[in-house]
């Protein structure tokens, strides 16, 4: 007997234009390359996830699906030049279900930031980043 079936999610992240995405492999190469010209990387998901594993050098802001998370994000980037290279990521859920990256991307663009990329994570951070052997840190 079928109790339920899984239906497609709201697909918020899917509405982000492809041109604003960065792929995991590209970001991994970028952060491992010599030099100091690294993007500001901001994780806009759960702190419990961030503490277990995150991209080295990235900062935790909080889930941008909540107004409090978006406010935190705005506060963090407010003093930065609008040309600052910023990478947003979450990885909590399959891409089409992630509720956090689209509001974060929208907020930065509304503030006038012109060099923002969103890390495309198709399944979750474990599968698409950690399991690939890309650099990972844990803790706060």
């Amino acid at each position: 007997m079928s109790l339920f079936s899984i239906s497609p999610g709201s697909g918020q992240a899917s509405a982000i234009p492809t041109a604003r995405l960065i792929q995991t492999e590209e970001l991994a190469k970028m952060i491992q390359a010599p030099g100091n010209d690294k993007p500001l990387m901001i994780q806009v998901g759960s702190h419990v996830l961030f503490s277990q594993a995150h991209i080295p050098g990235s900062e935790h802001i909080g889930p941008a699906s909540s107004e409090a998370g978006v406010q935190q994000l705005r506060k963090r980037v407010e003093p930065l030049p609008r040309t600052k290279f910023i990478v947003l990521y979450c990885g909590c859920c399959p891409w089409g279900h992630c509720p956090n990256v689209k509001p974060a991307d929208d907020a930065l663009h509304a503030m006038g930031f012109t060099n923002v990329k969103v890390l495309y994570i198709s399944d979750n951070l474990g599968t698409n980043w950690v399991d690939k052997g890309y650099p990972v840190a844990k803790g706060d």
Binding site: F4, S5, I6, A53, P63, G91, N124, G126, V136
Partner: protein
């Protein structure tokens, strides 16, 4: 090589092999972090965590029941889709020995309380931590669900939204044992 030395080397190799097998199901290898999942048929890592009602829940106190351990969050769409059906599974199979336990990885219990009421959740929910996630191999995507046998061993791990047919089939099988 002396016999005693050979014996010691063999014992060391066996011990190392056992350790590797213990953490064999999934290994995250990356710079700065290694996350190991408990292997199938090995004991589910025990934990004590606060429930929404303030009381502690200890996983091992459910020894003798089939446990469906669901890592989820209120803002996770696939989790929200699954939870009504976990409620239904608990209702349907609870008196036969199923116990669903939710581990919320929300950063605060504040959104979990109203969610619990809104979704008429009929099973305990605890607030998870990074340490709990690490014990279970890293909860780095949601939902992740473990099925645990009556004697407290990992039977299955499901990453991502899983259909009720799959859960129900496994639960029925485990309840018969």
């Amino acid at each position: 090589m002396r016999g005693s030395t050979r014996f010691l080397l063999a014992a060391a190799a066996l011990a190392a092999g056992a350790l590797v097998a213990h953490y064999a199901v999934r290994q995250h290898r990356a710079v700065g972090v290694t996350l190991s999942a408990p292997a199938q048929n090995l004991p589910a890592p025990d934990f004590t965590l606060p429930q929404l009602n303030g009381k502690d829940l200890r996983l091992s106190s459910y020894h003798g029941k089939v446990v469906l351990l669901d890592f989820w969050a209120t803002w996770c769409d696939p989790c929200r889709e699954e939870i009504p059906h976990l409620v239904e599974l608990q209702q349907r199979y609870g008196d036969r020995g199923l116990q669903v336990i939710g581990v919320s990885i929300d950063d605060s219990p504040d959104p979990v309380h109203p969610f619990y009421q809104q979704f008429h959740m009929n099973y305990p929910v605890v607030m998870g931590t990074a340490q709990t996630g690490t014990m279970y191999g890293g909860i780095l995507g949601l939902p992740i669900t473990f099925l645990i046998t009556r004697d407290g061993r990992i039977y299955a791990k499901h990453i991502g939204a899983t259909s009720a047919e799959v859960f129900e089939k496994e639960i029925k099988s485990l309840l018969q044992n």
